[in-house]
């Protein structure tokens, strides 16, 4: 550090800017003012410094873009959006994901049931005809088999015994035929 008594102008140069900014200690400020009062060169330096400072203050202030500031802050702090993964970070994230999924599931569960296509009158009429057809077919089968059974059963139970009476008494009076035999 330069000493006032050894190199007073150099000492004054080093303290001129803090002096103009009001950052110099009162003791140094008094010493500097004492030197300025006796040194024309340093007074000229002081005047030049005051002039430059005044011109700097007169320049327009420019705004820094927000993204640049954020980038600078992140760089300065050394972290990105997802770099911090502490437990307190995941609680809101997991809660948000769970809530979103629950909303989706609830919307799925509570969705209106798909409406069954209501058949028109013609379709119902066709269905009635088909149902009649099916039951009529069953009826036809019953009648057909009923008549077949009657015919088939007449032979062993009525016709054959009658013939047996004529041809050979006792023949044909066997057991009732089973359905398998029919």
């Amino acid at each position: 550090m330069t000493k006032l008594r050894e190199k007073p102008c150099q000492w004054a140069d080093e303290r001129l800017e803090p002096y103009l900014e009001g950052e110099l200690s009162p003791a140094d400020a008094r010493a500097l003012e004492g030197h300025l009062g006796s040194c024309a060169r340093c007074r000229q330096e002081e005047a030049s410094a005051r002039e430059i400072a005044a011109e700097l203050r007169g320049l327009p202030a420019l705004d820094t873009p927000r993204r640049v500031l954020r980038g600078v802050e992140e760089k300065a702090q050394g972290r990105g959006l997802f770099r911090w993964k502490g437990p307190l970070f995941w609680v809101p994230v997991s809660s948000g994901v769970a809530a979103t999924l629950l909303i989706v599931v609830a919307a799925f569960l509570l969705r209106p049931a798909p409406k069954e296509p209501v058949p028109d009158q013609a379709e119902v009429a066709a269905a009635v005809a088909e149902a009649r057809f099916a039951l009529a077919f069953v009826g036809q089968v019953s009648r057909r088999t009923g008549s077949t059974l009657r015919e088939e059963q007449l032979k062993p139970w009525v016709l054959a015994p009658l013939a047996a009476v004529v041809v050979s008494p006792g023949q044909g009076a066997g057991e009732k035929p089973s359905l398998e035999e029919i």
Binding site: L101, P119, A129, E130, R132, L135, V141
Partner: protein, 187 residues
């Protein structure tokens, strides 16, 4: 709080598959009905062989019953208890030489499954099988298998059937127009 949310979320996820399969289960319900007999599984009549096909199920059965309630209350009453009417009639292709054997096997399957034979006719190569399925003394289904010459008819009626009412109904019933030669009108 976090634990509760996780439990709730897992519960909802566990419930989802059941919801998705609900529709499939509805279809399976009918196949579990005691009166159901899977005619398609017989593999005797293929799609190309079909001349007549009827497939009426639950919702339509209700509409049929409602539509005929005034004009034909007997028919409506019989249909109202039904859940399905399935009819497949056709002439199988030349490759189906064992139709009689196939029908006999189907009849055996029906009996093994607890169906009661109402009619069994074997006349040469022709076959007629009528089976009913009773549960607690109530008829829950009827299956008719007919082979007449080269024509085959398969019927499965699922649902509660009042045989007396059905007998009264079908004794004077027409409606076989379009049936073809298999026991149609005029045969």
């Amino acid at each position: 709080m976090k634990t509760k949310m996780i439990v709730l979320f897992v519960g909802v996820l566990a419930f989802l598959p059941a919801l998705v399969t609900a529709q499939g289960a509805q279809d399976e319900d009918l196949s579990r009905h005691p009166g159901f007999f899977d005619l398609d599984a017989l593999d005797l009549l293929h799609e190309d062989d079909l001349e007549v096909e009827v497939n009426l199920t639950g919702p339509m059965m209700g509409l049929i019953a409602s539509a005929t309630q005034n004009e034909d209350p007997e028919f409506s009453a019989v249909v109202r208890g039904l859940e399905r009417i399935r009819v497949r009639i056709g002439t199988p292709g030349a490759g189906e030489s064992n139709l009689a054997q196939g029908l006999t096997q189907a009849a055996q399957e029906l009996e093994a499954a607890g169906w009661s034979p109402m009619v069994r006719v074997r006349d040469g190569g022709d076959r007629v099988y009528v089976y009913a399925r009773e549960v607690d003394e109530r008829v829950q289904g009827m299956t008719v298998l007919v082979l007449d010459g080269d024509e085959l008819a398969l019927v499965n009626i699922v649902g509660e059937l009042d045989l007396a009412a059905l007998g009264r109904l079908i004794s004077n019933m027409d409606g076989l127009e379009g049936l073809g030669s298999i026991w149609g009108e005029g045969d």
